[in-house]
């Protein structure tokens, strides 16, 4: 795995931004959680009715097996199979998975004749109508995915599914799946297939990036549409539709019931929290940005400092020059917008989020240094400098300290404290003697002070660095926008590990 998520230095990075189809925004949606039925939104469209074509449930069956077989974090056969599915496949699959979960979870008296799937924005509803034979097959699959094949006779209808004889219509893998699901339930977790489905689709997005390039042009085809802009050196180099694996993974996790709960409540589930934190870190480390991802995470975990920190750093990144330049240079198809505000808007978002992180976790020195930088970017120099001085006092990691000294130098200069600025840059230069940024800053300060010789001495130190021995690690400034996600690999490993056992062989 390490070679797949190695830190992409600014030199080689290609930034990715996700955008949405603005006109008629739609998304494959999640069914309301049990017990949390939502009233129809005023002005909502009439439900679209989805007739299920022949052979479609075979894909659902394949999905169940792939989810139960996939070893998280590994590029295995199950992942390869899921990676081959088109967006059209995924959209239909999503409807069928919704129906499957409703059969598993709703009591018999609430079992629907048609399955209603609501979009994430609650504005679009699809009703899925199965033919009798299809519905029967769906209930048989629910027996497997719900872990009900081996229920004692008295319990066989408590989950809304009559599973007597179902085993005879399932192959060995699906019978084994039922056993695995049941074992998880015995251990208190009623989310076996949901969690593994989410892990599968998230892994496809991360480990099979080729699969994220949906074939065809960028014209919308209806339903959920995601676009990805590839950026190199501040300019758009490609724009194409993206596969919706992340969306499927997120929507699956919306179904998660925490241990001991009888309704979906992902905000109280630690695996969901770990998944969002790890995957969002991965995205930031890879400069593969998706605002929707962290927006969803923040909705589910509104007071989680780690999620808020990543969300803040994403806004800070969006307010940075590389992305702002790329968005200004982009040529977008009609109706498509990028989820990026102008610099000031993004920095204000970041400011508010960093402040919230510090309220929740005052000792988060990295958040404080970034908060200070953002305040400076908003010209709040008098507020920025004390935050950065405090960050300098609290930080011990050399890279974080380097950033804090650099940013403090900027703020001291803005406040007219030239000597303090010079001292901050000197300390930064001592921390990373090969780094060019503090030397440029020291030269510029000297030149501005009328000290031409001092300016030349500082720039000469930079020129002395020039040569073949310089490399991409010389100046941490070059990877500032990914530094906050440096532990993505560890987070992913920790999140994956418990799910590498109890799988289909």
């Amino acid at each position: 795995m390490s070679d797949q998520i190695a830190r992409p230095f600014a030199t080689a990075a290609r930034w990715m931004l996700s955008g949405v189809l603005c006109a008629g925004v739609s998304a494959v949606g999640a069914v309301p959680a049990a017990g949390q039925g939502r009233a129809p939104v005023s002005g909502a469209r009439l439900p679209a009715i989805e007739e299920v074509g022949p052979g479609r449930l075979e894909r659902l069956e394949q999905w169940l097996k792939a989810a139960a077989r996939h070893s998280p974090g590994e590029d295995d056969e199950a992942l390869t199979e899921a990676a081959s599915w088109t967006n059209a496949d995924l959209k239909k699959l999503w409807l069928d998975v919704n129906a499957l979960v409703q059969i598993i979870r709703l009591p018999p008296d609430r079992r629907p004749s048609r399955f209603t799937v609501r979009s994430a924005d609650q504005k679009r509803v699809t009703q899925v109508s199965y033919k009798p034979a299809q519905f029967r097959r769906l209930t048989i699959l629910a027996c497997s995915a719900g872990g009900n094949l081996n229920d004692p006779p008295g319990e066989r209808t408590t989950h809304g599914v009559d599973c007597i004889g179902a085993a005879d219509e399932l192959d060995a893998d699906l019978r084994r799946l039922s056993t695995l699901v049941r074992a998880a339930k015995v251990n208190g977790d009623d989310n076996y297939i949901i969690r593994r489905g989410a892990l599968l689709h998230g892994d496809v997005a991360m480990l099979a990036p080729y699969s994220m390039e949906a074939p065809g042009d960028v014209r919308p085809t209806g339903g959920l549409e995601r676009f990805r802009m590839e950026i190199s050196d501040g300019q758009e180099v490609d724009l194409r539709q993206s596969a919706v694996h992340w969306e499927v993974a997120r929507m699956l996790l919306d179904f998660v019931r925490p241990r001991g709960s009888d309704h979906a409540d992902p905000g109280h589930d630690d695996m969901v929290r770990q998944w969002y934190r790890a995957t969002a870190s991965w995205m930031q480390l890879r400069e593969d940005h998706d605002k929707v991802h962290l927006d969803r995470a923040r909705t589910i975990f509104p007071n989680d400092p780690d999620i808020l920190f990543l969300s803040a750093s994403q806004h800070e990144t969006y307010g940075g020059v590389p992305i702002q330049a790329a968005v200004r240079s982009a040529v977008l198809p009609t109706g498509v917008t990028m989820d990026v505000g102008v610099e000031r808007v993004e920095l204000r978002e970041a400011e508010g989020l960093y402040r919230r992180v510090l309220e929740l976790r005052p000792g988060h020195a990295e958040a404080r240094l970034r908060y200070g930088r953002v305040l400076g970017g908003l010209a709040k120099h008098a507020e920025a400098a004390p935050e950065l001085r405090r960050a300098v006092a609290e930080l011990t990691d050399p890279e974080q300290l380097y950033y804090a000294q650099l940013f403090l130098g900027v703020e001291e200069m803005a406040l007219g404290n030239r000597e303090a600025a010079r001292a901050a840059y000197d300390r930064a230069a001592q921390l990373f003697p090969q780094a060019q940024s503090p030397l440029l800053a020291l030269s510029e300060i000297a030149r501005r002070s009328g000290d031409r010789n001092g300016a030349l001495r500082a720039i000469d130190r930079l020129f002395t660095l020039s040569g073949a021995d310089r490399d991409e690690h010389d100046d941490p400034w070059w990877w500032y926008y990914t530094e906050q996600a440096r532990d993505a690999e560890d987070l992913l490993e920790a999140m994956w590990l418990p799910y590498r056992t109890d799988r289909l062989p």
Partner: protein, 286 residues
């Protein structure tokens, strides 16, 4: 603004083929590179008596005017980021090579290559072959630190009292500089370096290059393609050689702050291109 401490004026120390070495007095001269054209054609043969210079509106006495006789310090600051790869890199190297080959005896050249990293390919040297070699060895990769690279180019010019021409080439926008544009523009106002910019047309306007070329009296060339980049580079060199170097010792004006410069040619309808002013004194230090 380079502060020339000279017995009379800086250019007196710049004998053709020689290099300025030391200054020994405290009188500060101001040098202004001036392009005089008539219907787009350079006007030749002007002397001291033909120029009128006002410093903050106060007429000044022109000390010296020279034309096409002072060696040049030509600094190339070239974008070597990811976007400059393949044919474009070949064309950039070729154009740089043609420019270097066109330098005269006594001229010096230097190379600053910048991606996200700023590298001094070659210091100012009359040994043009060594600069050619550095250019040939330069590779493209990474992001674009246009502002940092331009600052480094200015400082290379500042390191020598010679007449400095900085040519900045970039095909993109700044994505990774540490220095801010306004800080480098401020440095340019204090320097004697004339900046010419060459930018490949894109949806993003090259605002930084436009500003820095304007306030140093240079020019920005926005080109569609780099196939004929050599002609652009050679045109810049040719134009720069046709500029007058006009010097005066300011009097009757405050020492500090921004000095607006107005240059005119007496009794002729000409077009003048020169820097609009300079920063001096203590006020220049803030």
């Amino acid at each position: 603004m380079k502060r020339c401490l000279t017995t009379a004026i800086a250019v007196l120390l710049l004998a053709p083929g020689g290099r300025a070495q030391q200054f020994s007095s405290r009188i500060e001269a101001v040098r202004v590179d001036v392009l005089v054209t008539d219907n787009g054609q350079p006007v030749r043969g002007l002397g001291r008596g033909d120029f009128e210079i006002a410093d903050n509106g106060v007429p000044q006495t022109v000390d010296l005017v020279s034309f096409d006789e002072i060696p040049l310090n030509v600094i190339l600051a070239l974008d070597m980021s990811d976007s400059v790869a393949g044919d474009r890199l070949d064309q950039l190297r070729g154009a740089g090579g043609r420019l270097l080959a066109a330098l005269k005896k006594g001229d010096q050249a230097a190379l600053v290559a910048f991606s996200h990293a700023v590298q001094l390919g070659a210091r100012l040297t009359p040994d043009v072959a060594s600069v050619q070699a550095a250019l040939a060895a330069a590779q493209s990769s990474g992001q674009t630190a246009l502002i940092d690279g331009t600052y480094a180019g200015i400082m290379v010019g500042e390191a020598d009292a010679g007449r400095a021409l900085l040519i900045v080439f970039s095909d993109g926008v700044d994505t990774s500089s540490w220095l801010r544009a306004d800080a480098v523009l401020d440095t340019a106002r204090r320097a004697d370096v004339v900046v010419y910019g060459v930018s490949v047309v894109s949806r993003l306007k090259p605002e930084f290059l436009r500003e820095i070329t304007s306030l140093t009296g240079g020019r920005l060339f926005e080109i569609e393609k780099t196939a004929n980049l050599a002609a652009t580079f050679l045109g810049i060199l040719e134009e720069f050689r046709h500029r007058y170097l006009v010097s005066y010792t300011p009097h009757g004006v405050p020492k500090d702050g921004w000095h607006k410069i107005d240059v005119r040619v007496k009794n002729r309808r000409t077009t003048i291109k020169a820097r609009p002013g300079y920063l001096a004194g203590d006020a220049a230090r803030e």
